[in-house]
């Protein structure tokens, strides 16, 4: 998938909800975004470890780590991880791609979360397999609600 095109669509999807009333960001349909990436294939549930605090005190910087147990061999490997936040103004948070030299399907970063919501992680595995998990997270001080507050 062309990232530009995808982000463009994601931004359009988001645009309708990016209004003065950002505090009440409606949940966007992550399922549609997932389907665009998987090409309609339904991902298997589970098999992804997500480290995310149950309560994020600062939505501007939430520690986040994803691990997928995988031998990372040529035949059986994780090729990419996609992260979605359904109530962020732009629900596509990031995509991480692992090359042949990657030792583990393990990535840690810090994300922004606009409000209390569900974070979705989609893993792309070799052989056209997909896995998906969802994790709820509470946010006490929200990110990106400058507008209209």
């Amino acid at each position: 998938m062309k990232r530009r095109a995808f982000l463009g669509t994601a931004a359009l999807l988001g645009a309708s909800s990016v209004t003065r009333a950002q505090k009440l960001l409606p949940a966007q349909d992550v399922g549609a975004l997932v389907a665009r990436i998987t090409g309609g294939a339904v991902p298997e549930r589970g098999g992804i470890e997500v480290e995310l605090p149950p309560i994020a005190e600062n939505g501007n910087s939430v520690p986040f780590r994803v691990r997928v147990p995988s031998p990372m061999s040529a035949a059986d490997r994780v090729t990419a991880l996609h992260v979605f936040a359904e109530r962020n103004p732009r629900p596509l948070v990031a995509a991480f791609h692992f090359g042949p030299g990657a030792a583990k399907a393990d990535v840690a970063t810090r994300i922004r979360l606009a409000v209390e919501q569900k974070v979705t992680v989609l893993a792309s595995l070799s052989g056209g397999r997909w896995r998906l998990v969802e994790r709820p997270v509470l946010v006490t001080a929200a990110a990106c609600i400058d507008e209209g507050v």
Partner: protein, 106 residues
């Protein structure tokens, strides 16, 4: 030019998994923020960051405004032979950055 810190072990055994940690200094402007005078601050994030080791891409991140300011990334690579870990990135304005560290593999 953005500044970054890249941390990789200076030495490693062949075949060992080593952690690469990276911190890029960048505001990751969401485009939803306003200046004190009401002007909107345009979106500007590091949208693409690529990591190569020995000339081969080992990791790539495509990021949006959902990544916190001063993006931090940690991931694992296989130390196969002595070489350089090179990180290159570009933001929405087209500003590019690069940082590199060698690994000596025995």
């Amino acid at each position: 030019m953005a500044i970054a810190r890249l941390q990789v072990p200076a030495t490693a055994r062949a075949g060992e998994a080593v952690e690469v940690r990276l911190l890029v200094q960048h505001p990751m402007e969401t485009g939803f923020r306003r200046e004190a005078d009401g002007r909107a601050v345009p979106m500007n994030v590091v949208n693409r960051l690529s990591v190569t080791y020995g000339g081969e891409e080992v990791f790539r991140a495509e990021m949006g405004s959902g990544i916190a300011a001063n993006p931090y990334l940690a991931f694992w690579i296989v130390a196969k032979s002595s070489g350089e870990v090179v990180v290159e990135w570009v933001d929405d304005k087209g500003d590019k950055g690069r940082v590199a560290q060698p690994i000596a593999v025995s």
